[in-house]
């Protein structure tokens, strides 16, 4: 376990440049997208022009070839200004592009990665179903072999980017009798495939600039060359992908917590310049100190997890056997990060509202939007109850079944 961590000069510069770009080019339009529940195509174009949608993709496929640390920095800075934008990017890069890099064939990488890296194509990940939420293995969507194809039937819900995605990683049961390990397969389903339609688009409390859609598969024919990994390995692919996804969610939450803190400091300075004395109140100082402590701890937690994730994914990509110990550590680490930091962010926002009062939660303020956005981080990619179950069972050596 590494005990020392520091960002390189290049990483610090990457953070400064990213922040400057996001604050000048993206932040000003976010409230409008949020208010209108509109997908931010313009912002996605601007971000993909800087290579963000292919940040971790190897250069030979058109990506920037950067590490998980830079990915963390990007999502932290993005999470600070808008959870919707962080979620769009995370679903695309973490949940769609990453499993293609890890498990895709050479042919699949050549076919899908260039357009996904440039942002010309958008990716999504579809695991959750009406009856498979926390019980993710209980998939009802079926994949039946038919000649050179598989036929998909069923529906997915709460799919981030689902209605705008060009490629969706879809998990379906190829053989229910085999259970999740062996009975689930991952497919790369392309937009406009006959039998694949978008259903209901959810109206949400927050994350309103991101889209959350139902996907419907009715005798949807997917060629075998679109199987990701091997038949029956889908659940492992989902779990290892989510191990990374959860850490990057945590990084986004870290950004949100830091932003709440920064905004509160601005508020207190403003109050001071108007002759107020709030910054000298101990009730306020103590609340801020609590946030600072938790943000400080979170930062080490998530970047440490990201370094381990980097190693873990390198081994998967090299097709070598992943040491069980490393896999468990990454899995537990991602559960810890996701549950802890999402709650840190929620607490930070609650405390800031307690300091600012009613005018702090007016429409159009970042804190108002941050409050509505904060809840989902405790829910998606496995509720924090599920994370606690993973952490406790792993530490007690109790099987997850």
């Amino acid at each position: 376990m590494p005990f020392e961590f520091s960002f390189t000069d290049e990483q610090d510069k990457f953070r400064r440049d990213t922040r400057e770009f996001l604050h000048s080019e993206i932040l000003p339009s976010i409230n409008t997208y949020d208010k209108n529940e509109e997908f931010p195509f313009d912002n996605i174009k601007k971000m993909s022009d800087r290579g963000y949608f292919g940040l971790t993709v190897p250069k030979n496929y058109g990506g920037l070839g950067l590490s998980k640390i830079e990915y963390g920095i990007l999502l932290e800075e993005l999470g600070a200004i808008c959870a919707s934008h962080a979620t769009i990017l995370g679903a695309h890069l973490g949940l769609c592009v990453t499993p293609i890099i890890l498990y895709g064939t050479q042919e699949q990488k050549n076919r899908f990665l260039p357009s996904l890296s440039s942002g010309e194509s958008l990716g999504a990940f579809a695991l959750t179903e009406p009856s498979a939420g926390s019980d993710a293995a209980n998939l009802q969507t079926t994949a039946t072999p038919e000649g050179e194809d598989f036929i998909l039937n069923g529906s997915k819900i709460f799919c981030t980017n689902g209605d705008h995605a060009d490629f969706v990683i879809v998990f379906a049961a190829n053989d229910k009798s085999l259970g999740p390990m062996g009975g689930i397969t991952a497919f790369i389903v392309e937009k406009n495939t006959p039998g694949f339609t978008v259903g209901k688009k959810e109206k949400k409390m927050g994350l309103r600039a991101s889209s959350t859609a139902e996907l419907i598969f009715e005798n949807c024919k997917v060629p075998k060359e679109n199987i990701l990994g091997d038949v029956g390995t889908g659940f492992m692919i989902a779990l290892s992908t989510l191990d990374g996804g959860r850490i990057t969610l945590a990084v986004g939450s870290l950004g949100a917590a830091q932003r709440a803190l920064d905004l509160c400091i601005d508020y207190l300075r403003q109050n001071q310049s108007e002759g107020g004395n709030l910054a000298n109140r101990q009730s306020i100082q103590w609340k801020l100190a609590d946030v600072v402590m938790e943000v400080y701890a979170s930062k080490y937690l998530v970047y440490n997890n990201l370094m381990e994730l980097e190693k873990y994914y390198e081994i998967i990509e090299s097709k070598e056997k992943v040491p069980r110990q490393l896999r468990d550590r990454v899995s537990r680490g991602s559960a810890i990060s996701k549950a802890y930091v999402s709650e840190v962010a929620s607490r930070a926002i609650t405390r800031v509202i307690e300091i600012q009062g009613i005018l702090g939660i007016q429409d159009g303020t970042e804190i108002e939007r941050g409050f509505r956005d904060s809840f989902i981080a405790e829910i998606y990619e496995g509720t924090n109850d599920i994370q606690r179950m993973i952490i406790a069972k792993e530490i007690l050596g109790i099987g997850l079944n």
Partner: protein, 376 residues
């Protein structure tokens, strides 16, 4: 009526009336109140037939003249259905009806109370320039003596019901004294600002109000300068208890939603209510409800009996708003992803709870007040 029991006839009657009204008239439109940021006028008309605009008003002017604890039960019951509507009525009753009933001159009462009690007119009051009730040291809303009239200048940043009120009781600084002046909404020199929408209570209509040499007759002073501190104290303790009642009502509706969802939702081949992690959340909400209800009922009855409940009201407000915030959040988490989408009411309930918690006074300011007896 003032026995230490909340189950008197008057209370039960009002609760039943509101329950029927809530099920039939409010429930069908509660999400559109939130989405459209508006309580339809037709609903308010029906509410006025129930006498809820003037619960604390005297029967002499067509008020319902209920006890304070019955009023609190009514507000709580209403908040189960619509915290926005409940807040509108709570502030109308406390800020306007009660203040004028207890401190208004007979001329003011004759002129205003019939319309206020029946909901034909709405009134509000504002104490701190920042919208709080505690911050009375730095009132920059000033009233200048101009012979027969006072001229008001200044801004009140947050006035509950400000956008829809027909008149305002405005706490002004008179130099040596402070006092409430009655200002009509069409009085020259008053400017009602852009409505302030907040994350929750979206059916309510708050606004900032500015006064530019706004001239009102001297007879518009409420009570005398000597009465000002009594008016403020009455408003403070009643608003804190009113906000507590809304918080408890909100918690009750969040528990109902969480119980319903967790018994319907199946995961791992059984209703999720069978899991201890869910049971623990449901139990927690229930504990918060029982605790804050007991406190609220006790303090309301003590108030009816004439006890000084000022500090206890502050305690009740801190307790119930903080419990409501955590309980509604846990009720949302019980719903998982469904808690986050607008098909279920819990996300609105959470936003309402946070807003009620943030209204008027910060809990840290109330904590300072609560600690006073312990500080030399």
């Amino acid at each position: 009526m003032n026995k230490l029991s909340s189950s008197n006839e008057e209370t039960e009657m009002i609760k039943e009336v509101i329950m029927n009204f809530g099920e039939n008239e409010i429930n069908p439109i509660v999400s559109s109140i939130d989405n459209n940021s508006d309580i339809p006028a037709s609903l308010l008309e029906k509410i006025s037939e129930l006498g809820l605009f003037g619960m604390l008003g005297s029967s002499k002017f067509n008020g319902a003249e209920t006890s304070f604890s019955t009023f609190i039960h009514g507000i709580l019951e209403l908040a189960k259905y619509s915290p926005s509507l409940s807040s509108l009525l709570m502030f109308q009753n406390i800020l306007s009806v009660q203040s004028l009933t207890q401190f208004g001159s007979s001329e003011q009462q004759e002129r205003l109370l019939n319309d206020l009690n029946t909901g034909k007119k709405l009134g509000t009051a504002v104490i701190g320039d920042d919208g709080s009730t505690l911050n009375i040291k730095n009132i920059n809303t000033e009233a200048m003596d101009e012979g027969d009239s006072y001229s008001i200048s200044g801004t009140k940043k947050f006035v509950f019901n400000g956008e829809i009120a027909d008149h305002f009781l405005v706490l002004c600084n008179f130099g040596k004294d402070s006092g409430f002046l009655l200002v009509e909404k069409d009085n020259p020199g008053i400017s009602i600002g852009k409505p302030i929408n907040t994350v929750g209570l979206r059916g309510t209509k708050s606004a900032p109000i500015s006064f530019y040499s706004c001239s009102v007759p001297k007879t518009n002073l409420i009570g005398s300068f000597d009465a000002t501190s009594k008016i403020i104290k009455l408003i403070q303790e009643c608003v804190w208890l009113g906000l507590s009642a809304i918080s408890v009502g909100i918690m009750e509706s969040s528990l109902n939603q969480a119980v319903k969802y967790s018994n319907e939702r199946q995961q791992f081949s059984k209703p999720i209510s069978k899991f201890e992690a869910i049971q623990s959340k449901l139990a927690g909400i229930s504990i918060d409800i029982e605790t804050s209800t007991a406190m609220l009922e006790k303090i309301s009855l003590m108030k009816d009996d004439g006890s000084d409940v000022f500090r206890l009201a502050a305690i009740t407000k801190i307790l119930s708003t903080e419990m409501s915030q955590r309980s509604t959040k846990n009720a949302l988490l019980v719903h998982g992803g469904y808690g986050y989408i607008k098909d279920y009411p819990i996300e609105r309930i959470v936003r309402d709870a946070e807003t009620v918690k943030s209204l008027c006074d910060l809990n840290d300011d109330l904590r300072v007040l609560v600690s006073k007896p312990f500080v030399d």
